[in-house]
């Protein structure tokens, strides 16, 4: 352990920690935009700057090692002024339309502007970004007028999804996130996993499937397991008014042991079948080749009666149950129990082979 002073308080932290980690352990909040614990460090947003006594430059705490005996100030007047200037510089290129933004209430940039009292930017000297919003894919909305160039999306694409579909193009103020040759995602190696949306701290990258359906403060998040392939990724169903309106990631080790928040296109964007008008809502009984709606009692009685008759007439082994690789363990257990104990046969199988 090493010992350093942060805001006048002595703090212990393991050797090898960064100043940011030392602050986090000590419960001292540090604003960050480009920092993401799951991604390679960038040290580029400069929001996490701190002052270290005796050093002429401000240090980005996310990439600066905590050293024994150093004296750190995290909210000195100089640091606060620097953060304000940085936020104002970003504000001058950011399209503030929070009232209709998907990320309203769940946006780090909005939070910091609020926290540091940025109502307007003194660097709004006229030239604004004006990027077209026209990527014709059904999954990911790309609005680079809200981008703050933290490059978390680039790093997530490179390091989590390993798709390497996007990178920084151009230099200086004209730098922007783009696919090779600045085309559509569909023409790039993008696999539409949406990990970029997961890490984006602003409204620059959002889900088209969830657009307009509910914002973070309106939804409850229910942690569950994806119902597509056998990988067993966990995901959060976003619920508003008893309706699933989106999927987000839980990135904790305990909440997401397999995928740590990473999903695929089906997991992240393939959820709205739940609300499909095609869903069956009532039992159906076929009469004269046509289905008619029926009540549960009628349908269940009919099923029980017919199965009972067939069992008596043709024996248990004339019946079979196909259970399902899609339903829960509990339901599979009940299905095989039903087959074996009630129908009296071992004719139970599912599509494991298909």
């Amino acid at each position: 352990m090493i010992s350093l002073t942060i805001n006048g308080k002595e703090v212990q932290t393991p050797q090898g920690s960064t100043i940011l980690e030392a602050c986090q352990q000590a419960g001292i909040p540090i604003p960050t935009l480009c920092y993401d614990p799951d991604l390679r460090l960038a040290g580029s947003c400069r929001m996490c700057l701190v002052e270290i006594k005796g050093r002429p430059l401000y240090a980005a705490s996310c990439v600066t090692p905590a050293e024994n005996g150093i004296v750190v100030e995290t909210e000195s007047p100089g640091i606060v002024a620097a953060r304000k200037v940085i936020l104002e510089l970003l504000s001058a290129r950011h399209n503030f339309n929070c009232q209709v933004c998907e990320k309203n209430g769940n946006c780090k940039f909005q939070d910091y502007c609020y926290q540091y009292g940025i109502k307007e930017s003194r660097y709004d000297y006229g030239e604004e970004t004006n990027y077209p919003i026209n990527d014709c894919n059904p999954f990911i909305e790309r609005d680079y007028n809200k981008c703050i160039m933290c490059t978390r999306c680039v790093r997530a694409c490179e390091e989590i999804s390993i798709a390497r579909a996007i990178n920084v193009e151009n230099r200086g103020h004209h730098a922007k996130i783009a696919t090779a040759f600045d085309g559509n995602l569909a023409d790039s190696p993008c696999v539409f996993c949406g990990q970029c949306i997961m890490v984006c701290p602003t409204g620059a990258l959002t889900s088209k499937v969830s657009a307009g359906l509910g914002r973070a403060y309106e939804v409850d998040k229910v942690l569950t397991t994806c119902s597509y392939c056998g990988t067993g990724c966990t995901l959060e169903l976003n619920v508003k008014n008893d309706c699933v309106v989106g999927v987000t990631s839980n990135r904790t080790v305990t909440g997401s042991p397999v995928n740590k928040g990473a999903l695929c296109v089906k997991g992240r964007f393939g959820w709205d079948f739940i609300n499909s008008p095609d869903r069956l809502t009532t039992p159906l009984i076929k009469e004269n080749g046509q289905f008619r709606a029926a009540g549960w009692d009628e349908a269940l009685d009919l099923v029980a009666k017919r199965l009972g008759e067939i069992k008596t007439e043709f024996g248990p082994d004339s019946m079979a149950v196909f259970t399902s690789a899609r339903v829960t363990n509990e339901e599979n257990y009940v299905a095989q129990k039903f087959t074996r104990a009630v129908l009296g046969t071992n004719n139970v199988d599912h599509c494991a082979r298909l």
Binding site: S44, L57, Y58, A82, L90, R122, Y123, V168, N170
Partner: protein, 408 residues
Amino acid sequence: MIEEKRIVLRNADLINPEKIEDYLQAGGYQGLVKARSMSRPDLIAEIKKSNLRGRGGAAFNCGLKWSFVPADAQVSYVVCNFDEGEPGTYKDRIIVQKDPQLLLEGMAICGHAVNSKQGYIYCRGEYPYVVELLNLAIDQARGKGILGDFNIEVRMGGGAYVCGEETALIESIEGHRGEPRFKPPFPGVAGLWAQPTVVNNVETFSNLPSIVLNGAEWFAAIGAPNYPGTKVLTLTGDVANRVSIEVPTTATLREVIYDFGGGIKEGKKFKAVQVGGTSGGFIPESMLDTPIDFDSMRSIGATLGTGAVFVMDETRDIVDITTRIAKFFEHESCGKCNPCREGTFRAYEIMRKINKGQASVQDIENLTLLSQVMEKACLCGLGQAAPSPILTTLKHFYPEYQARLQIQ
């Protein structure tokens, strides 16, 4: 009157740079032979003791830098920063064009000190003809077996100013976008391909053969004690003689401009001088008696940097020049960190507004605050130094700004 003192230009115009034999005849590679007879720690200690400081932007003690390379490193690299991208600077080109073997010898000495088998010269993309000369020199040295198992390869830059920053240069050699890395880790610990790497520039490497040959004491006694040796300077702008010179670091700016540069051309009056390249501070007449050594320059808010000396006469428009410099940085910012990417852009916007006579005192205040933040908050030297011309001209030439402000 102070005199030229030639260390890195000692063979200039005396030998044929395309002939290694000439270099050998002039005593070339004896420094390397001596260095290789020394143990690595002794060699590093010797260089440290000479107090040779980097002839670039940071003036770090060269031997100390080398000592950061772990002694047990399996793989390490020696990289020569020859990305000379500062407008008005051409001293590295002169050194290499006049005496390319000197650089190779210096790199090989460093290679021995840090146990490196591979050196790279990252050459400015605009110097293709120098690359030819370097490759010829490398071939000749290899042909003579002089470099031993130390291999040197030339890589060309693509014209990005930021690649003069050592970590951006490393990224570029690796084939990535030229963006600086955060430090630590410093290249000495994890540089090129994450291996320990020494990055020095042409002038620094070119000092090494003489230091090894003549000893640390000899070098330490030349010029200013805290920044010993010589410095190659290139004089540009409104000076009578636009020359390159090598002088001891005790020379003052006045001596450089008037004794070597012949004063202001056409008999006009001196207004300002910018030293060290585009990011250097502007120095008024009152400070011309400052010696050129790194620390003295820093004490007046200037930087020795690349040794470019850009002289401006009384007719020059300081605000206009500063606006052009702001445009340069707006163009050359790589865009990685927020304060530089957006700051250089807005600084140029404000400077344009001032230059057009449309600005108010508030704009100057905004610019000042922005510049002060950039100096301390930017990720690399480019952004940290970019506001220097603005801040120093605001300090020393404020009336010129004032005259431009909108009457309110």
